[in-house]
Structures are given as C-alpha cells and as structure tokens.
Subunit: 472 residues, 2 copies
C-alpha cells in the first residue's frame, strides 16, 4: 500500500516492489512507525522509544524528528544519547534543526557540536542565531578551526571541507604510518586516504589505505605516496568541486591554498549532497522559484519566495498583451486570429525550452564550451527548420480540413508564422544559456519564466505582423 512508502516514486516503478524490499539492513521509517513512536513519546515510554530508535540510522532518526509533532520531536531529541544526537543533527535540514536547537541550554549545545566533525559543526554554527553562535563558539573544542571554516562561503570548497584528516610525514615508514592512522582513527571518520605533509604543512602527496596495506612495513611513505594528486582551492564553488570529484572518480579531495598548504579534505558523501542540491537548485530556477524553497517552509515564506517570478511573468505577459492590443484593428478584421494565439506561444515556448535544456546540460557537464556557441546554434536552427515544417504542415492541414475562416489567408499566415517562430525561439533557447554562462550567471535560469515570456512577446509580434501584412 503505497500510502506508507517513504520513497514511492522509484520503488513503485522498480520491479523490486513486487519481489521483496528494495534494500535490506534497514528498518524503514513509514507512517505507522512514526505514529507508534509518537504515541510512546506522549506516554513518556523512554525505554521503549530508545530501544526502537537504537535500530535506526541517523538519517532515519532525522526523518523521524521531521515527521513528529514539535513537542514529541523535542522530547525525543532531548532523550537521544549525545553521540547519536550529534550524528542526527548532521543529517537534519536547517529549518528542522533550528527549531530543535532553539530550546537547548548552551552547554548541551556545546557537547553536541563538539561531537560533530568540523564541517558539520560549521554548518550548525552558521545556522544558529548569531547571538547564540557567538556565545558558544569560544567554548568549543575546535573553536580555532571553526572560526577559520566560517570565513569561507557556505557553498565553496572551504565551506564544505572538514579540518580532520590523517596526516603522515614523508619520512615515516609504513609501519609508523599505520600507527599514525590507528592513533587518529578515533577522531577522523571515513578514512580512505592519508595525506602526506611536510613540517610547513605543505601537501606532498596522498597515500590510500589500500596502498598502505599492500606495501611492506619498512618502506618509506615518500616512496609509495601518490605525488601527482588532484586538489581544489578553498574558494572554488562547490558545484565545481562536484564536477571534479565526479569527473575523476575521487572518494575524497584535499583542499589546498595557493601556497600549497593543506587546509582540509572534502569527502564523497558531502560531494554527493552537493550534486543533489545543485540539481534541485537548477530545477527550481527553471520553475521560477528562488532555489531555496523547502517543503517545510510556511505558506507565507513560500508565497514571498514565489511572488517575484509571478510578477515578472505578469509584467512580461502584460507586454505580450500590449503586442496583441497594438493589433486590435487586425483582430477586429478577423477575430479567428485570436484562436491561434495559444498555438503560437506554445510553439515558441516549447521549442525554446527544448533547445535551452540541452545547452544548459552540455555547458554544465563541460561537454559544450563557450567556443561551441556558433556550431551549436547552427545545428539548432537546422532542427528548428525541420520541426517548424512538420508542425506548420500539421497545423495548416487541420485548418484546411476544418475550413476555418478565410482558409488561404489563414494557411499563409500560420505557415509563415510557425516556421519563423520555431527558428527564432529555438535560437533564443540555445543562445541564451551560452550568453548567461559567458556573463557568469547560472545558465539554468535560461529556462525560467523570464525567457519563456521573451519568446511569447517575439512570437506574437511575428504572428500579428505577418497577419497584418496579409489581411490589411
């Protein structure tokens, strides 16, 4: 019964739905689990709740807290053992987290944050009210590291890196290196690679655990390390980090400043989140949202976020309207022309979005370069011509069959219009992403309401100019 499936879209699509659960090793948090735990919480059944929750992964506890009524969520969070509380904190969305941390005493807050890796700790601090953040910061274990991390933009390599990593010296033997890994194991999670740094903190090379495991103990780190490694600069946009990690199949990437100093490392799990976030942001830009709307936002927040684009749309469509208004005489002459207004705008809108989408993706993935603009647009115009002919043919065929209005005039007007609109709109769609990229703007906005409106205006102008020329 899909109603209680937390991820219905794909599992209902995938055959897995029919033959057993899609994955094992997990207690699935669904409607009924949430309800049961809610009841136990109101009944103050601490023991039973903690037993149930003990089987859950932090991400699922975070989901649980998101679904529970505020009072129950607060209680559960206070009941969680500190270690788990911290892990869960790292998995929560900002909005939910803020609500839970609001009514915590500073010292509890400090214990929680101290239990986090510096990258997560920095996120939590960044989301706290400045007053609170400034109050707790000095008393935190990693106060110095955190102050440094907070100086980087939240969406840069420096903003998503963690300060914890396993450091080795180039002249250590692998035996000693193994010892070093053992010692740091406690406070560094998911170690796949150790970083070889000199006294000055300059990154000399990387050494994978596999390599460490494979070579003899007497060998020197310097002799087995990988000296030509990929690193990113602290101020690089996180989207760029995602692209590098994906392109070169990395599991973690060191962050190195321009003097070659090792600043920290970014692990794949954070990169995966970045890729997902950036994709969601693009989709929102395409849809005329601010790119930050969350499902938990209040109606007023949502309304405020959406209004700007609705108003842009209003102004733009107002202009389209003015175009129509300017041709009232022509319309009086043949009201039938109004019937085709949606056809003209639909053709323009769809053709433009299609060619824009593919350009946006190509540019985003680095498959298309700015220098490809002309080749690309040439190709799109060819496509536009082909599609324009087919669509115009279908449309005019229908008009002729139905014998609408003054058929010959109408067919002449529409065929000319559809062909030109297809050409203009498709070219716009392909051109604008290159333009935006060149200007340093996210090309995904090329598919937002703004461009659609632009195409409506041009399409209608073309339509009525042709019509007027033929009819009057």
């Amino acid at each position: 019964m899909p109603a209680s499936d937390p991820s219905p879209s794909s599992s209902s699509r995938s055959p897995a739905a029919s033959d057993g659960p899609p994955y094992s090793g997990l207690l699935e948090v669904d409607e009924s689990v949430v309800d049961d735990i809610a009841t136990l919480l109101t009944e103050q059944q601490r023991g039973m709740v903690l037993n149930l929750v003990a089987d859950l992964y932090p991400a699922d506890v975070a989901l649980l807290l998101r679904r529970l009524p505020d009072a129950e969520a607060g209680r559960l969070f206070r009941w969680l053992p500190p270690e788990m509380g911290a892990d869960v904190l790292a998995e929560m969305e900002d909005a939910v987290r803020a609500a839970l941390l609001d009514d915590l005493r500073p010292d509890t807050l400090i214990d929680l944050i101290d239990a986090l890796d510096t990258d997560d700790a920095a996120d939590v601090l960044a989301d706290l009210p400045d007053r609170v953040a400034l109050e707790v910061l000095p008393d935190l274990e990693d106060a110095a590291d955190l102050t440094e991390l907070l100086e980087y933009g939240e969406e840069t390599a420096g903003g998503i890196m963690a300060r914890e990593y396993v450091a080795l010296a180039p002249d250590q033997t692998l035996q000693e290196a193994t010892e070093a890994v053992r010692r740091s194991a406690a406070d560094v999670d998911d170690v796949y690679t150790a970083y070889v740094v000199d006294e000055a903190g300059t990154l000399l090379g990387t050494l994978s655990l596999k390599q460490l495991l494979l070579s003899a103990g007497a060998v020197k780190v310097r002799d087995v390390m990988d000296a030509d490694f990929i690193s990113v600069a602290p101020r690089v946009d996180q989207e760029e980090v995602g692209r590098v990690v994906q392109r070169y199949d990395l599991v973690s990437v060191p962050v190195v400043n321009d003097t070659g100093r090792m600043m920290g490392r970014i692990t794949i799990d954070d990169v995966v989140d970045v890729i997902r976030d950036e994709a969601e942001e693009d989709m929102q830009l395409m849809s005329g949202l601010t790119g930050e709307e969350e499902t938990v936002d209040s109606a007023v927040q949502v309304s405020r976020g959406r209004l700007p684009w609705l108003i842009v749309g209003l102004v733009g469509s107002g202009l389209s309207g003015t175009v129509i208004g300017a041709f009232e005489a022509t319309l009086q002459q043949a009201v039938v022309l109004a019937t085709f207004i949606p056809v003209v705008t639909a053709m323009g809108g769809n053709a433009a979005v299609q060619s824009a989408a593919i350009a946006v993706q190509g540019l985003g993935a680095g498959e298309l370069w700015l220098s490809d603009a002309f080749k690309r647009i040439g190709k799109e115009m060819l496509v536009a011509l082909l599609n324009g002919i087919v669509v115009a043919g279908l449309l005019c065929g229908t008009v002729a069959l139905l014998g609408m209005g003054d058929v010959t005039m109408l067919v002449a007007t529409l065929s000319l219009t559809m062909l030109s609109v297809s050409l203009v709109a498709t070219t716009n769609g392909a051109l604008i992403p290159f333009l935006l990229t060149w200007l340093g703007v996210d090309p995904a906005s090329a598919m937002g309401p703004f461009v659609t409106t632009l195409n409506d205006i041009m399409g209608l102008a073309i339509y009525f100019l042709i019509a007027t020329a033929l009819y009057l």
Copy 2:
C-alpha cells in the same frame, strides 16, 4: 579568456577565477590543447602525442577524443596503450564509444574489454551491435559473469554493479585477511570494504580497510566484521540505489539476491554518475525532451526526439484555441479581452510549475509521502490565495490607471479570473506529481508541456466564462 574554459559556468562565477586555477594536479583540456594534439596527430607525431596524453586522466582523454575530428580521434585511440585505452573507454559517452569501436578488429576489442571491470565491460557490450557482441562475448575472460550482468536491466542495481570484490572467510584471521586483500588487489580497483561470505556465497558482513588496519592480526574476521550492513536487491531501480547510498553516506553497497547471496558491489563513483544522470533526465522531462538527447546527436535524431512533444503542445494549444474560438461572440463584444489572454495563461503556467517543482522534489527526496497529499495541497491553496490576491491587485491597478476598455467590467473580470486561475493552477501543479507517483510514473513529467497545456485550457475557459457572464 572564458572561450577556452571547459567549465565556464561555475569557474567564472567562483572567485577562484581571480586567484589561480580552481584545482591543481590537472592538465586542463581546452581548445588550444585539442588543436595542438589534432595537428600532431595529422602529422603522425606518435611519440609527442603519447607524451602529451600520458599526463592526462582517462576522463580528459575521453573528452579529447570527443573533441577531435573522427579520423584523428580514431588514430589517437588506436595509438593508446591497451591499459589506458580501456580506462578511456570506460569514461566515454555511448555515442562516441560506438563510433571508435566500430572499426576495431575483434581481437583488439577483446583485449580492451578484458582490461575493463565487469560493470564497464557489460556497458560496452550492451552498446555494441548485437552481432559484434555475440561474436566477442565467448572469448572474453569474464564471459560467464558478463552474461549474468547483461541479464539485468541497464538501469538496475544488477546493471550497474561490478562482479569484482574482495571476499573474506569468516574464520580467517585479520593476518590472513590482509593477505587476501593483497592477492585480490591486482584485479579489484578502489577497495574500501571487503565482504565476508560463507561457502554458500551468503554475505555475512562487511569489513572496512580501516577496521582491518586497526585491529590486531590474530583476531578473527567474524569478530570485527560489521554484521548489520545495508545491501540492495539486484532488480532495484538505480535511482533507488542512488537514494540509499546518499541517505546513508555509503562509499560502496553490496548487491544481494533474495536468498542472501552476494552478487556484486556498486561503488560510489558509479552512484554519483547515476545521481547526475537521473537529474539530467528529470530536467529533460520537464523540458519536453525524451530524456535521452545527447549533445552529440545529429540534427535529424534531435528533431525526431523533440517532435512528439511539440505535437502534443500543438494539439493542446489547439484545444486552448478552440476554447477562445467558442467565445468569439464575447471577443467581438470586447476585443480588449484578447489582450489579457497571455496574462491569464502566464499566471496559470507559472503558478502550476512552481507548486509542481516543489512537490516533485519532495517526493523524489522522500521528504514528502503520498499520505501528505492533502496536507500539501491545502498549504498550496493558501499560497495560491495569497499570490492570487497580490497579482490580481497589481493587474487591476494597472488596468484602472490606464483606464483600459470598460474599466469596471474589466477589473471585475480580471480579479475574479486571476484569483481562480491561481487557485486551480497551483492545485493542479501540486496534485499531479502525487497522482503520477501513485501511478508509478516519474513525477518530473508533471512539469512537461502536457501539464502546462492543461492549465492553459482551464485558465482560458475560466477567463471567458467569467467574461461572458459579465459582458453578455
């Protein structure tokens, strides 16, 4: 000079552009590099070409092959040392790969495929013409494994898993385990975790290299392994695998069939590609593309892929037109009404897409459940009311200021229309993704031309019904 920047969008946005390259350890493949190598290739400068290419990562060589003229690309690929050729093959898009493999002799092809991991080998085979695939398959090292992999859908866990993994026995000591890892190191890349299986091949637990490194050699695998691990079923949709890996921060996930047998493992680098692909597919669905258009496709391929949606759009907008046509009498009465057709459709389209986007993302991320439908839609209607009032206010204000047509009538018509359109469209936008999900269809299609058109029709009907009621 952005023209030669392979990833301009983000690097031109990020401050990095100003202070040095965004990342180091890479020779950036740009326009000039491509041109130089192209020249050397035409001049048959084998030595110099291979020297240059030796510094490139496989992904960059793949990009290079993609940018080179076919003749030069073919030559470079034939010149590559077999090992590198295979690595590059694994990084290529299907279209490019097919072209290059076309003119290879079967035995060369076999050497190349044998050098690949089974997951990549299976992809390559799947893309080969059946005739060729069947010809080479029997002579491949992993023929048996590959035949099994090819039985799974390309977009399922079984389709993206590799058969290679490090297997340990529960009663081995860690000393012996380390030996086992050393032995398998040659043919298993990126090892982060070893898998503990019994004689029957049942997966009992997992052991991370870190754990292996940290514990004493005399300890038994059974005593340190992680016995409660997450695994996925072979037939699970790859999108679901991506969700699990992201949600639980995994670097690799074992694929286990319903009898508990270990089938293979999926590594994070493949999951990252899946997440990116699924995001691109969603964006294409939203834009009225088939979800498979590649930047390298020919104009005719592209045209064929886009026409279906353009025709859907044509039919849909034709219906919108019919709606307008049905009210010709009203239009004759007040041609000014035509001026507001774009305003009405824009409001409907934008409002719907906004509410659809957020629902699609929530459902995709598992933040929204089917059971949330009513709560969600209620909230959206509240948003629609707020935005409807503001937009209607602005529009009517303008109309009054400009004193267009019969102001009072027009204001009455437009305010009523904008409010109802906002409500109807927003509700549609939020409702349809839930509906599609419940039907097991990818909700992203909720933002394609189909739904936009539906909203146009409803919006125009509302508009002219109200107008007719008031004007006639």
